[in-house]
């Protein structure tokens, strides 16, 4: 009966589940990065290049840390409002600003190598290979720059539906081809030399009458594992594609806007309604489904030892066994939650919380 506000009763997230922990989480190191991601649903995640790990905050602070010791190597204050989180590779670090600014710094000392303006927001982290830096823009364009000089190599354009999900998928940039998933539900392979489409595959078909029902964004990052490409789409399908012959091997109806993870022969998906499901990579059969995290706004999954982990809106990281999805450990890393993807490398899980806390975790 709210006369003033029209709050309508809130859809409540499910409470934390009690379980007997089989593993212990210990924090190797943690560092704070500027003022964090802010409240504009910025999906910031860290980026790793060799021994260094980089992170950014919404006010233009970029920090480089040694990923084993956690010692801060350098910190740079840029005068832009960062929207897209940090991308790194091959000795370079890239960030993108709200007014379309694109800045690439040198990984050693953070000095600015080159800068350009792409005239719209870039919410996805940039990707590098030996010679190009690829940015995916929210207006459906993909722009490749020469990584060292910053001159424009090519631009690919795609149609954007009238209503999409906030956030864009980061492309996978291999040596000669780039795989990019778009808000139109299409997955495209682009030739790195000229930026032309080699093949195109419709991962999900828009259905229903209202713009809301017709959203089929690919927002999660595609996953390349043993030569097979996996990609999910919102209100669409999880699809396994042979990237060389652009042929769909199998598909499962599941809606997800998060990136994927793989382990133990499974593909792990954080579904739209916050359940985590494991599918067998070869037969596509559903192995297990953990639904006790409903409405907790879970992040993309990341694999650590024998577990698969997801973070939630209160910053709890839930570790689940890769065999049957039972909870094995839990740790609260940042009470303001984790929106961005987590990175696991060499048995260490790197997490960037919304309040700007960057931590490296390990399981005992």
């Amino acid at each position: 009966c709210g006369f003033w506000g029209d709050d309508g009763e809130e859809i409540k997230p499910s409470p934390l589940v009690s379980f007997d922990a089989e593993k212990k989480v210990d924090v190797l190191w943690s560092v704070s990065v500027g003022s964090g991601a802010g409240n504009k649903f910025n999906q910031f995640q860290p980026a790793i290049d060799g021994e260094m790990i980089f992170a950014a905050d919404k006010d233009g602070t970029v920090v480089a840390v040694n990923r084993t010791s956690g010692k801060k190597l350098w910190q740079v204050e840029l005068e832009i409002a960062i929207v897209g989180g940090v991308g790194a590779g091959f000795g370079k670090v890239a960030v993108a600003g709200e007014e379309g600014e694109v800045i690439v710094l040198s990984a050693e000392d953070g000095s600015e190598l080159w800068r350009d303006n792409v005239r719209t927001e870039v919410t996805a982290a940039a990707q590098f290979n030996r010679d190009i830096a690829v940015f995916q823009l929210i207006n459906g364009k993909v722009i490749a720059f020469d990584a060292s000089t910053g001159s424009r190599a090519w631009t690919y354009d795609s149609q954007v539906p009238r209503l999409t999900l906030r956030g864009t998928s980061s492309p996978i940039v291999a040596s000669d081809v780039t795989f990019a998933g778009f808000a139109s539900g299409k997955l495209v392979a682009l030739d790195n030399a000229k930026g032309t489409a080699i093949w195109e595959n419709r991962v999900a078909l828009p259905q229903g009458r209202s713009e809301l029902e017709r959203m089929v964004d690919i927002d999660g990052r595609p996953l390349l594992v043993d030569g097979m490409l996996y990609v999910t789409s919102y209100q669409g399908r999880l699809v396994a594609i042979n990237p060389f012959r652009a042929q769909v091997v199998w598909a499962q109806d599941v809606s997800s806007y998060r990136s994927l993870a793989a382990g133990f022969g499974n593909i792990y998906v954080s579904e739209e309604d916050d359940a985590v499901q494991a599918f067998d990579r070869s037969s596509s059969a559903s192995v297990w489904r953990q639904a006790k995290l409903e409405n907790r706004e879970i992040s993309a999954p990341a694999v650590l030892d024998s577990t698969v982990a997801v973070a939630d809106y209160e910053g709890y990281i839930h570790f689940m066994s890769q065999t049957d999805g039972r909870f094995v450990a839990r740790y609260q890393v940042d009470s303001s939650g984790v929106y961005g993807d987590m990175i696991s490398k060499d048995d260490v899980l790197y997490v960037l919380g919304n309040s700007g806390r960057l931590a490296a975790l390990q399981l005992q």
Partner: protein, 752 residues
């Protein structure tokens, strides 16, 4: 075997609610037919298509065809819980459009469509996060009840509007133009943080015009992205623009068939050389050209401005003229006037039938109709006559309203017996367009028998003629002014005629016999003094003349324009009392937004009276101030000099005025019947020469501006079915001791 067999009779089994008649009407086989199994199958399919049955089985009982029917349940009740923002009727209406309402046949497929229809109703209100669960409860008698449980979820508000590529203007400056706003203090009331596609396209149009109107000829909106967070609570809008350079006008030119001399056309064009490029001026010039040509009879002319952008940041603007054919009005239809006679409306129209069509005249006629005050709304539409390319019909659709007031009262008091009060003031009496006023009352303060009649269209050009007769015995004491009473008997004739579209002159001659009665104790010395000098009854010949210049856009609740009225009342020489009483009344309305909901208005009323012959200025012709009409917050007529009994005596000089800030009435859909405003009033009356009998302190001679009284407050007017009702809540700002203030005042039959 498709051998056919003869049917003696047909028996129906399993029927509960469907009527046998309906079954037979849809089963094209009757007793006595020779029928094959193919025909039977076709008939069964036809029966099945009616949708009333889940299953139809046929069997034979030696010659009797038996139809075993399993009726589909019908939905007899739909219960919806969990909805509090959208009422159940609205949701049922949404289902009805989806083809499901109580009493319909229930099909399993409808369950799925229910979910989508309801979610769509919520999505249309920006509540993207709503979810719906349904379950079916069977009731006896093959009926079902549908229980629908709704989780309305949060409303999606706009979290982030980002304009990329703007250097000339800042984001904040441009977002000011937008109707879509980030959540702010007023959001719960104005609801402007709710995303709606049409609103966005409207805002983008405003953005484009803002740039194009200030010189940026090749400004373009490259793309717009609207995205929503997965929890469907926040909307993100990104607008990517390319500003381009600021351009100036190099040259202006008109090409095409000049049906109106070119120099006359060039005058109406607002775009000049050297001026900063502005699309607004180009569009205004285009309209001006269309109107000028339209007035010459070319209603279907089309003018296309072609700006040609040069790379030295200048633009040549060429107007291409295609006048089309001279257009004529075939018929003018008037509708909606179920009470007002046709010619009462038609006489206001300047556009003639079977004559050259003119936009200006058609539009002016609409304004003239609005000025009459007879109508709540007047809409005009010009449609071309099918089968011709140069004939149009013009249709005026009016919505009538009560103009004038009507009140009747019946009472009884011991000393003066039956008190009868009947007052009728109608501007459009019985829809004949005549102004009729009848006043009958015999209360102890007022005995009145008055009749006034004005025919505004005595001649077809709008010369008005009217006359009035009145017998009035008024006891002023009750009217909280000086204690005396007047008996008046008189009558008169008046004429008025327009001297142009907006100005009008009125003349009236009244013959009047007035006698003043006093009573020994109550009547103040000033009046006794006056009677001593001038006697107490007078026969006067009064000439009233007024000049009005009315540019207001509407009769009731004007929102634009101004009006001046100057009037002079002369007690002609040869009457017992010769005097002059002049007054000037001016109103000015200035809309603050394009659809004129927020209006600033100023008004002023000034009066000056004096004697002409040897006699003193009659005290009963004094000006009074205070009350709803002049200075709100002070009692009726209570301002200004007092007589020796300390009753208000009025004065021969009146100065009042005020400013009003009119704003749309909250929580009301149809604004045309309401007016709410904040006001500041000022005013007082003065006396240039006090009566010799007045006591010091009650009447200072001369106009003292520091004696002006001020008040401020809130006012509301509402057009009720029996006439306008107005009230004001006012706080006097500088009332002095002895002033009679009144915080709440109301009146029937008068609007602000």
């Amino acid at each position: 075997n498709n051998s056919s067999f003869e049917i003696q009779d047909i028996r129906l089994e399993g029927l509960q609610r469907v009527s046998p008649g309906l079954v037979f009407r849809n089963f094209p086989i009757t007793a006595g037919d020779q029928v094959s199994s193919a025909a039977l199958a076709k008939a069964t399919r036809k029966l099945f298509k009616t949708g009333y049955f889940d299953d139809v089985k046929l069997s034979r009982d030696n010659g009797v065809l038996v139809l075993k029917l399993l009726e589909r349940p019908s939905v007899s009740l739909i219960r919806i819980e969990g909805n509090d923002v959208i009422e159940t009727e609205m949701l049922l209406e949404g289902l009805k459009q989806g083809g499901l309402q109580e009493g319909d046949v229930f099909k399993r497929a409808t369950l799925e469509s229910i979910k989508q229809d309801l979610v769509r109703v919520y999505a249309s209100q920006g509540r993207y996060g709503a979810s719906v669960t349904t379950d079916v409860e069977t009731l006896p008698g093959n009926r079902v009840a549908l229980n629908i449980d709704v989780a309305e979820g949060q409303i999606a508000t706009i979290q982030h509007i980002n304009i990329v590529g703007n250097t000339v203007y800042t984001d904040e400056e441009l977002k000011e133009l937008f109707s879509l706003k980030l959540p702010h203090f007023w959001s719960f009331y104005k609801k402007d943080d709710r995303y709606a596609r049409q609103k966005l396209s409207g805002d983008l149009e405003k953005l484009r015009s803002y740039y194009l109107d200030s010189g940026y000829a090749n400004f373009s909106i490259d793309s717009t992205q609207v995205s929503i967070t997965p929890d469907k609570k926040n909307i993100f809008i990104t607008v990517n623009v390319t500003e381009g350079e600021k351009h100036t006008i190099r040259a202006v030119d008109i090409a095409g068939e000049m049906v109106v001399p070119e120099n006359q056309l060039m005058e109406t064009v607002r775009v000049e050389e050297g001026q900063t490029f502005s699309r607004k001026l180009i569009v205004e010039s285009q309209d001006a050209l269309a109107t000028t040509i339209g007035n010459a009879g070319y209603m279907f002319a089309n003018i296309s401005p072609v700006p040609e952008v040069h790379d030295d940041n200048t633009v040549t603007v060429k107007f291409f003229l295609d006048p089309g054919k001279r257009t004529y009005v075939r018929r003018i239809n008037i509708s909606g006037n179920t009470r007002t006679a046709d010619d009462v409306i038609r006489q206001h129209l300047k556009q003639m039938e079977s004559a050259v069509a003119s936009n200006e005249m058609i539009e002016q006629s609409k304004v003239r109709l609005e000025k009459t005050g007879y109508f709540k709304s007047v809409n005009v539409e010009t449609t071309s006559v099918p089968g011709s390319d140069d004939l149009v019909d013009v249709s005026y659709v009016v919505e009538e309203q009560q103009s004038g007031s009507f009140s009747a009262s019946l009472g009884f008091s011991q000393n003066s017996g039956i008190i009868l009060g009947f007052n009728l003031q109608q501007d459009n009496f019985l829809g004949t367009g005549k102004k009729v006023g009848v006043g009958i009352s015999n209360s102890d303060t007022l005995t009145e028998y008055s009749y006034s009649y004005v025919d505004p269209y005595y001649t077809v050009d709008g010369v008005s003629r009217g006359f009035s007769l009145y017998y009035r015995e008024r006891d002023f004491d009750e009217d909280n002014t000086s204690a005396f009473s007047t008996d008046e008997i008189g009558g008169g004739v008046n004429f008025g005629y327009p001297i142009d579209d907006y100005q009008r002159l009125n003349f009236g001659l009244n013959l009047e016999q007035v006698s003043i009665n006093t009573n020994a104790t109550e009547t103040p010395a000033e009046i006794n003094q006056y009677i001593a000098d001038e006697g107490n009854d007078y026969f006067n010949m009064i000439l009233r003349s007024t000049w009005t210049d009315n540019h207001l856009n509407r009769g009731f609740f004007p929102t634009k324009g101004y009006s001046h009225t100057a009037s002079l009342e002369l007690g002609l020489p040869g009457s017992d009392l010769s005097y002059y009483k002049a007054s000037f009344n001016t109103k000015y309305y200035r809309p603050l937004d394009d659809n004129r909901n927020w209006v600033l208005s100023l008004r002023g009323r000034f009066g000056y009276g004096g004697e002409l012959g040897g006699n003193e200025y009659p005290f009963y012709k004094h000006f009074f101030a205070g009350g709803l009409k002049t200075v709100r917050g002070f009692e009726q007529n209570s301002l200004g000099p007092r007589d020796s009994k300390n009753d208000p005596f009025g004065g021969d000089v009146l100065i009042t005025g005020g400013a009003e800030f009119i704003f749309p009435t909250p929580f009301v859909k149809d604004q045309s019947g309401w007016r709410t405003l904040l006001f500041v009033d000022a005013g007082n009356v003065f006396d240039t020469q006090c009566s010799s009998a007045s006591i010091a302190g009650n009447c200072e001679e001369g106009i003292k501006l520091d004696e002006l009284r001020y008040s401020a407050g809130f006012g509301l007017s509402w057009l009720t079915p029996i006439g306008p009702l107005s009230f004001a809540i006012a706080a006097p700002l500088n009332d002095k001791s002895g002033d009679e203030t009144e915080v709440f005042q109301f009146a029937l039959g008068q609007t602000f």
